[in-house]
Symmetry: D2
Subunit: 431 residues, 4 copies
Amino acid sequence: MTSTVISAETDIYARRESAARSYCRSFPASFTQAQGARLTDDQGNTYIDFLAGCASLNYGHNDPDLKAALIEHISADGLAHGLDYHNTPKADFLKTFERLILKPRGLDHRVQFTGPTGANAVEAALKLARKVTGRRTVIAFTNGFHGVTMGALAATGNSHHRGGAGGGSLTDVVRMPYDGAFGPEVDTAAQIEAMLDNPSSGIDAPAAFLLEAVQGEGGLNAANPEWLRKIERIARKHGALLIVDDIQAGIGRTGGFFSFEEAGITPDLIPMAKSLSGFGLPMACLLVRPQHDIWAPAEHNGTFRGNVHAFVTARAALVKFWSDKGFQNEVADKAALLTERLQRIAAIIPGASLKGRGMMQGIDVGSGELASEICARCYEDGLIIETSGAHDEVVKVLAPLTIETDLLAHGLDILQAAAGESVCVRALAAE
Amino acid sequence: MTSTVISAETDIYARRESAARSYCRSFPASFTQAQGARLTDDQGNTYIDFLAGCASLNYGHNDPDLKAALIEHISADGLAHGLDYHNTPKADFLKTFERLILKPRGLDHRVQFTGPTGANAVEAALKLARKVTGRRTVIAFTNGFHGVTMGALAATGNSHHRGGAGGGSLTDVVRMPYDGAFGPEVDTAAQIEAMLDNPSSGIDAPAAFLLEAVQGEGGLNAANPEWLRKIERIARKHGALLIVDDIQAGIGRTGGFFSFEEAGITPDLIPMAKSLSGFGLPMACLLVRPQHDIWAPAEHNGTFRGNVHAFVTARAALVKFWSDKGFQNEVADKAALLTERLQRIAAIIPGASLKGRGMMQGIDVGSGELASEICARCYEDGLIIETSGAHDEVVKVLAPLTIETDLLAHGLDILQAAAGESVCVRALAAE
Amino acid sequence: MTSTVISAETDIYARRESAARSYCRSFPASFTQAQGARLTDDQGNTYIDFLAGCASLNYGHNDPDLKAALIEHISADGLAHGLDYHNTPKADFLKTFERLILKPRGLDHRVQFTGPTGANAVEAALKLARKVTGRRTVIAFTNGFHGVTMGALAATGNSHHRGGAGGGSLTDVVRMPYDGAFGPEVDTAAQIEAMLDNPSSGIDAPAAFLLEAVQGEGGLNAANPEWLRKIERIARKHGALLIVDDIQAGIGRTGGFFSFEEAGITPDLIPMAKSLSGFGLPMACLLVRPQHDIWAPAEHNGTFRGNVHAFVTARAALVKFWSDKGFQNEVADKAALLTERLQRIAAIIPGASLKGRGMMQGIDVGSGELASEICARCYEDGLIIETSGAHDEVVKVLAPLTIETDLLAHGLDILQAAAGESVCVRALAAE
Amino acid sequence: MTSTVISAETDIYARRESAARSYCRSFPASFTQAQGARLTDDQGNTYIDFLAGCASLNYGHNDPDLKAALIEHISADGLAHGLDYHNTPKADFLKTFERLILKPRGLDHRVQFTGPTGANAVEAALKLARKVTGRRTVIAFTNGFHGVTMGALAATGNSHHRGGAGGGSLTDVVRMPYDGAFGPEVDTAAQIEAMLDNPSSGIDAPAAFLLEAVQGEGGLNAANPEWLRKIERIARKHGALLIVDDIQAGIGRTGGFFSFEEAGITPDLIPMAKSLSGFGLPMACLLVRPQHDIWAPAEHNGTFRGNVHAFVTARAALVKFWSDKGFQNEVADKAALLTERLQRIAAIIPGASLKGRGMMQGIDVGSGELASEICARCYEDGLIIETSGAHDEVVKVLAPLTIETDLLAHGLDILQAAAGESVCVRALAAE
């Protein structure tokens, strides 16, 4: 298989698509079809997908039941664009979400349909937390990623993305060390508490804490449940809202529907997006505890809040995967397999270590160069896989949760071979 | 027809949807189907749509050719979510956009697929203009609307939306008076030029001017072509980029594909969204002159940049409506009808005047109260129509461009009756 | 007289004084003594002082009565530095200020002794206005100058000084056109009111308007009393405080003790500095209407708030010059002389016009180059005089108010000769 | 002695001085004279001064030699106000400062005379660091105090003072933990380095580090020399300037002329003020390494940069106290006495500990309430002494460095008695 055969299509990209494009540089194939965990390009080559739309395709590509529901809706002239009108698919989604997700978890949150991107849900959360508390400062964390619009960008740690603001103001965010930022022995929550307890620390009373339970772009850093509970307690003590950005880590990716279930905390605001529609369609929402839902009508608005196609597939996904524990159990089994295999692979890479949780795991291989090399080899062998982390030093597995076990194993075989080869080549070169 | 019959569905909204919802308060029906310029609710009532998803449905609901293309794509397991991978529908869209839109208009712009909302395209423009110029200040205009994310919100004039930031910083934007802001006799462009020419004016050298050629939310204020050319000249003279936000006014809404064609200017950056997909699906892009396309890969990114369904319908729409002048001529005829009828309606409302251009026209009825009353009567009679303007004082007609002439006329009959009735009732009440 | 003989002292400046120094570049003499309106350098040359410490020496250098009071105080071991302790000279100053200045003008303001610089008094005003109103935005004006600390710098128009912030944030200030900014026929107050009345203008409700009644650094622009009254009315209508920065234009410079007396307005906050001590000693205060004096103790503090030497001379100056109308009448006579002579000088400069009011007048000679040339010639002939304005195009007369009439006339003779010579040389060069 | 006899003067303060006044609330006497370490009030009571104008009077009140020089200067009609003109006293000060202070310490810095307050020198430093580096972020520390103008206020930690901004923007400062902020065992410098080394930490590349070697207002926290050296190294490594604010801790207060001499570091920028004039007169400067002195003329300016009276006394002080090691040795002896006595006093207060260094020491008594009580008792017994720290929990001794040893001992006797009494009363009350 030769993915280096650049299709004739490519010219148009060079000529007319912005230099901001990126994944297509690592994976230059031109894709035409996709099913489950497999992608096909215009040369007929197939690829195993260990990226899954950056966790936007937790149920894989074109799940047949979701696809059927969507085609039926379109065929019947169901609405595509519904502003924030009432409409049957939206009502059905809300009722199903309430019944299968919120109620069983004791969550009384309301759903705000924001513009259909994760960044927009984070923007809504940042604005609402400030509105509720009358405060301006939001505490965000090292290595956090929350989007690249100017409000959300302020909360994003990555210097590459921050630089995209071209010097425009990224304000009202105070940065604190995430769990483990100074090594496992330093309790950063205690340090944060000391800062906030000190009236001369220079940290103004915060409107909110904004965090991911597992940092996806930041390097698959998984916060300890105990640390999350401490942060929740500190937030409550200081009158700040707790925002858990569950855009990448939520919707089954780390085990439960929400990434924070394990820690037993109750965030005030929860931005959701990515796999929310279940089909890869743009959809986002902010879950808001009722007492904080003080928006005036349309105070946060946007044209595409009512992506009705997405409501249809989102509901179908909830019914198919979250009506009982079956799916969760399956995911847990695959996550166990993943852990085991990644440990074996890490063992052959000097200094490597496992990162992450559930189906959001990877290997810190120590350098971005080595990680990129491994991913490039994988692509040559038909596996799409990416890096993350401050130095792109983590090879990250984000397979669809629905991937067949043997396909998952096959993908991991490719990864293991690529890792082994990369390490050997380096060892030889070093001699 | 009784739209006041609240369906049983409504409970779920009260219980679980955020207070931020708004259109459903004016139009409480629960919609189930839509075709062309007609919506149907769950009670079987039909409505004429003079809102068209706030100009996101310029080609109407569920256009049969676009719908067929979309169903074909989905049925064949075409990608739904494509990150920023190369894929056939994207290449086809780009090639068609180049051939039918950019080339004939002499535009050398590249296309940056941003997150699929207008606000995201504006955010990208604001960031890029700062990056290109190394400056921070962006000049935006009174009554401009550019979205509600924190960067874009800074550029939005409306105090209601600005208040949604809860006191968070909205920075680096300087506000200038739009054309006509101080009456028709004041040349605000000359005042802006005087401010910028004065090194002690306190206005820092701007990175960009950001404006709409016709302000949609701001009250259908249409800038004079001469004023637009002056602003373009001032921007060039001061080394600033010209950003024309064509999200609402573009894609045929005011006559040409772009709203600024008439003025003969060439913006450096053009945010597009709303009707871009042609089907109401979330899609946005930023057109960027090649010399300004200095993004590093992924410097501005986002999960849903590759909404492949939208590429499919967007291309189908270009082919169907922009292959020749037929559609534009049709739109011009309807716009002329609209002008004529609105003039007649305005004539019966004391002090009323026409606003806007093309199929983006309305009547300034002098007060938000009267405008709301007229719209509410329209809804009772099966017409969906909304207000705009700083005081919601403009009744705004945003019908699909594809609306049948007799349906347009029928809708305007309803509007005329509602206006007449509202004026009479008021006159009687005042006696 | 040869001021170009550089004294041996100069080396030390090149070696050890920062490049930020500036006046010494135009006037390179090394001064040793000063009396009234005369300065003497270390070569024995004398100069007429038409700069008066930028209006910090309204009573001239080393006024004998003030000097005697100061020496008496120091000799008796009176306090030099008094923090904000009660002390007799401070009490005496406050009582005299109340009796001779505040009460006769019907002002109930309190005196806040801020750090002893004008910028600090402006900083205190900006902070207090925000504290009182709970709002952030302050409206400042084109060509305004209010100091170069970061808060005050945000309110300063001059791009040279703004650039000194090195890209740091200058925030929360909205810039509006000063009276006459767009020519005499445009009522900028009406435009400002239109902006503030429009809820979609993008201008947030302001905490305060900050302005000078005559703009000193900005080019001796004197606002029309009617315009000042309009701004006061607009401020009240929109719940904003009115801050009149009387640092340069106050203390007799424009006729009355305050520059705004003529307009009959009552500012809420009045920053004072420069000639406040009467002797050129650092001293500043903010006058605050009692209802706005909501500071907590030390909330705005500073080490040198209690410059007791300055209290001593400030009180002596009030007693000497403001006990009756004699001084004001004298100043009015000199101002009339000044106007008459400047008109004659302006008449010989093509396109020149008079600027300013009272003893704060000058000539707009059309270009900074010509203005500098004239000032340089004056210096050669023993007259110290400077330029102001956005382009340094105004030759500005800021003589001590106490200057003897014949010395004033003598200085104006020098100015007239210099202007004539400069104009002739240019005319010849142009032939 | 009854300081509670409120003099008739007091009314005027209530009537006409702003509520921002503060020290006069703790020490309500009205002072008339001062000599060395003694103050006298209008009732003839005398007080020992352990506050020394918050370290602005390191050489005591009205030092006879400085006083004589000043009276001589004034008597001879020497300039009082000299803008930034060359003048003999300024040249003499610069030459003496170069000879006695800069050269012996190997410092090549230039002197920028800023507005005559510490805050202004800090503002100049913040602006210059941003100008030099082209960066915006300044790192400041917990418990730092750098003034209350809006730029400097951003760098101040204290929430009371920060609140004075009334919600205005305090931007572009990132807060880091000072040495010891998380206890003696945590190396905060290492944590800061980890944050800056991480490109995803969210901390933008800093323009500067701004710190005090001993935090005066923050609670007499003395940084370890090793920590200071680490911060210097980190600053250099990351291309940031090192600013040591030596306003309170400098000029002999902690032993050497500069507080950082002991650590052997070379700050790029050094704001100086308080005791710089030696006589309590307003004077400030910023020391700038020559390569960073990139100011354009007047880019940072201000009316009172040339307080010539202060140049006269400042030079006299340098000559008198810094011509040889005698003064420093004396100060060292007194500091040793101070340490010894404070240890004895701390021993009688449960949980108390010593803070600070040199003649800038105090006792952390555990609570602001107890500290205030002790200071109030001292005042009753004729000793002026204040608290500092985030909770005002530190009783701080800032006696003139020139205080006679027996007067210092006498003051400490009063402090000891007051501490003992306060502790006893509390112990009895607790029974």
